[in-house]
Amino acid sequence: MKYWRKPLDAERKRAPHGNVHVIFERCKGCGFCIAYCPRQVLEVSDEFNRKGYHPPVVAHPEQCVNCRLCEALCPEFAIWNTLDEQEVEATK
């Protein structure tokens, strides 16, 4: 991620890590999640689902900061996030 200025607490703070869950068959391929993910975690899959849409694939899972914008934007309730608790433990 590119910062416009280096945050003062950049050494102490770490962005949380999230897990991304996609229901492949529920997606209608609108692409909102892919276009607006601030960390470019998602990409269009090559596969079609049964409805004939290309759902997102989680191409860069390690990049997800659990901001949950994809979850909020998805009109189909097909994508959501959970906080990676293990990661939280490890950074404490």
Partner: protein, 324 residues
């Protein structure tokens, strides 16, 4: 003027506060919003890249963040693509006749003032056939939250022009371009007396969620216009591309101006859209005004109505402060 350009994908960081919960916590198997939806009715009928589903996620998130007890919330919709919202939300919800969502909601509120009455309906439903109800609910400062999804046309019936269709836009009933002057909806409700008025687009999910939450916690007539993409009829007829293209248009052409004069919030075809919270003020609601007048005239004889009796209580009027 701008120091740096935001890429579309940077918008997420602007929108989201990562520390803020959206809706509870899901698990790897369970989408957290499913608890608020009638999953037996999914998938919904809304087209791919339609913004209506996103409006629902904002509503659900707002309900969760408001911490208003779920059993106190009712959702009312009229007819239209947007009107399907009430049927998909797992609340006490009412899918009413075309244009009559506000009278229905008014009845609910007056009969049981404890309820948080929320409406989700379309521009055609609320401003066209239901326009008269809208102006009077605003005038009365009727305590309810109206979410008006404006897709600039009657989408469900095939894309006829609505009172919100911008001049120059094509619709099935305006094959040579719309020429009527459209309503500036925030100005309309503001001038009629609405005490909370905001406008966002379907892309502004975070701001929209905050506004819906504020509106639900507001006492009085609160109104939120949501500009939302209708790729299937409106965008196709006007060659505007997909819903994602329209989201990108909103990204590039929304100007946030909180407390802007609603008079200046006209929407012109494919030009900048002013968004923000425009009005927020405290004024007596319909029920406050009624009680005050009755007390003045009847004095001690007047017993304010506080809602249906609580079956669990011995003396009926238990939830006496429920209106606040």
């Amino acid at each position: 003027m701008q120091e740096f350009e935001l890429r579309a994908s940077d918008f997420g960081l602007v929108l989201m506060n990562p520390n803020q919960l959206i809706v509870g916590r899901g698990t790897a198997e369970h989408h957290p919003m499913e608890d608020f939806l009638r999953m037996d009715r999914m998938p919904h009928i809304w087209c791919s890249t339609c913004g209506l589903g996103t409006c629902l996620t904002a509503f659900i998130a707002a309900v969760e963040e408001s911490t208003i007890p779920r059993e106190d919330i009712v959702v009312v919709s009229g007819i239209g693509c947007t009107g399907r919202a009430a049927g998909y939300l797992k609340f006490d919800s009412f899918h009413t006749t075309h244009g009559r969502a506000i009278p229905y909601a008014t009845g609910l509120k007056v009969a049981n003032p404890r309820l948080k009455v929320c409406l989700i309906s379309g521009d055609g439903d609320l401003v066209s056939i239901g326009g008269n109800h809208l102006i009077h609910a605003a005038r009365r400062n009727m305590d309810m939250t109206v979410i008006c999804v404006n897709n600039f046309n009657y989408a469900m019936t095939g894309g006829q022009a609505a009172p919100s269709t911008p001049q120059g836009a094509f619709a099935t009933t305006t094959p040579y371009g719309a020429f009527e002057r459209p309503f500036n909806i925030p100005f309309l409700v503001d001038s009629c007396g609405a005490t909370y008025v905001a406008r966002w687009t379907a892309l502004h999910v975070r701001q929209l969620t905050i506004s819906i939450k504020e509106a639900m916690l507001h006492r009085g007539f609160s109104f939120i216009e949501v500009i939302s993409p209708c790729p299937t009829v409106y965008a196709r007829r006007n060659r505007l591309g997909s819903g994602l293209d329209l989201m990108k248009f909103y990204h590039d052409h929304s100007i946030t101006k909180n407390f802007a004069s609603t008079r200046e919030c006209d929407i012109k075809f494919q030009q900048d859209i002013i968004v923000g919270k425009f009005v927020q003020k405290d004024e007596p609601t319909y029920l406050d005004a009624m009680d005050a007048q009755m007390k003045k005239t009847l004095g001690a004889k007047f017993v304010p109505y506080v809602g249906p009796m609580d079956p669990g209580a011995d003396s009926g009027r238990t939830k006496s402060d429920a209106r606040t």
